[in-house]
C-alpha cells in the first residue's frame, strides 16, 4: 500500500520529468490546467507514464474528473490500492 505522501512525491517528480514543471509549484491545491499548464494532450502522456509506473491499466475516464494535483493523487491511490483484476 502506498501512502498519499509517497504518491504525491512521485507524481511531483513525474511532472518535473515529463513537463519540466518546477517542483515548488506542485502543491495539492495546484490546478493542473490553470496553474501548471497541463493540457489535454499532456494528460494523455501523463496517463501513459502512470500506467508504466503503476503497472495498472488506466482508463482515461478515471481521470476525467481530476482537476487538481490532490484529485490526481487520490485517483492514483485508489488505483494502486485496489487489487489488480485476476
Amino acid at each position: 500500500m502506498q501512502s498519499t505522501q509517497e504518491i504525491f512525491e512521485q507524481l511531483r517528480s513525474v511532472l518535473q520529468e515529463l513537463f519540466e514543471i518546477e517542483p515548488g509549484k506542485v502543491t495539492l491545491d495546484a490546478h493542473l490546467y490553470n496553474d501548471l499548464e497541463i493540457d489535454s494532450i499532456d494528460t494523455i502522456d501523463l496517463i501513459l507514464r502512470l500506467k508504466e509506473l503503476t503497472g495498472r491499466k488506466i482508463q482515461p475516464d478515471q481521470f476525467r474528473n481530476v482537476r487538481t494535483v490532490g484529485d490526481a493523487v487520490a485517483a492514483i491511490r485508489e488505483l494502486v490500492n485496489t487489487p489488480a483484476a485476476a
Binding site: L18, F19, S40
Partner: protein
Amino acid sequence: MNEPAPPQDASRFNRAWRVFATGFSFACFGLGAVLMGFTLWPLLRLTAPDRRRGIARVQRAVSRSMAVFVWLMKSLGLLTYEVRGRDKLLVPGQFIVANHPTLIDVVFLVSLVPEVDCIVKQALWRHPFLRWPVVWAGYISNATGEGLVAACAAALGAGRSLVVFPEGTRTRPAEPLNLQRGAAQIALAARRELRPVTITCEPITLFKGNPWWRVPPRRPHWVIAVGEPLGLDGYLNEAPPLAARHLTQALTQWFDVSIAQQLGEMRPQTRPGG
C-alpha cells in the same frame, strides 16, 4: 541635428471621418457576410462535386471578399498596409502562425492566401455575422481537444494550408507574448515546419478592449511580414510534451525579436548626443 519630426496627430475632422468610416466598413462586413452566407457560399458548396472542392471554392471566395474589405478600408483612408514575402504563403501546405495584435489580423491573412483553413474559437459558430463564413468555409473549431491536433496534422499532410494564432486570442497590450502550445503540437504531429508571420500595427488599434469607435490619433499602418520557416530539427528527437514546450519557447522568442524589429522601424528613433 536634423531628426525626423514625430508623426503628427490627425485633425479632428480626420478622426471623425475615420470613426464614421470604420462603422460603415464594419456594417458592410456584417451585411456582406450575411448576403454571401445566404447566396454565393451555399451555392458554391451545393454545386461542387464533393465536400473538399466545395470548401476550396468557398475559401477562395472568402479570400477575395477579405481582399475587397481591405481595399475598402484603405480607400476610405482608414489604414495603410504593406505585405512582405507574400509569395512564400502561396506554396501549398503552409503552416502559418502569426501573432495577433488586432481584430482584423485574420482578414489580412485570409486575403493573402486563397485557400486556407483556420482554427476558429467555438463561440463564433453562434456569432450572428461571423458564423456564415466560418461554416461555409469549413473552418476548424478549437473545441475538439486532442482530435484537433490530429485533424490539423491531417489537413497539412493533405497539402492544405493552415492559419493559427498561437496566442489563442489578441495580444494584451504591454504584456509579454503568451503562446499556447497547440501550434507546436500540430507542427510536431504533422512534422511540418512553422511559417511565422509577424503582424504589427502602428499606432495600435482594434486591440483587445479597444472599441471600434475609439480610432487612433492618426491613420494606422499595418506591416505583415512573412518570415523564414522555423524548422523542427532537434525537437523531433525530444519527448513530445517537452518538444512542444521547447518549440513554443523558441517561437515566442522568435516573435519577440521580429515584433521589436518591425515596430522599431516605424517609430522615430531618438539618437543619443548630437
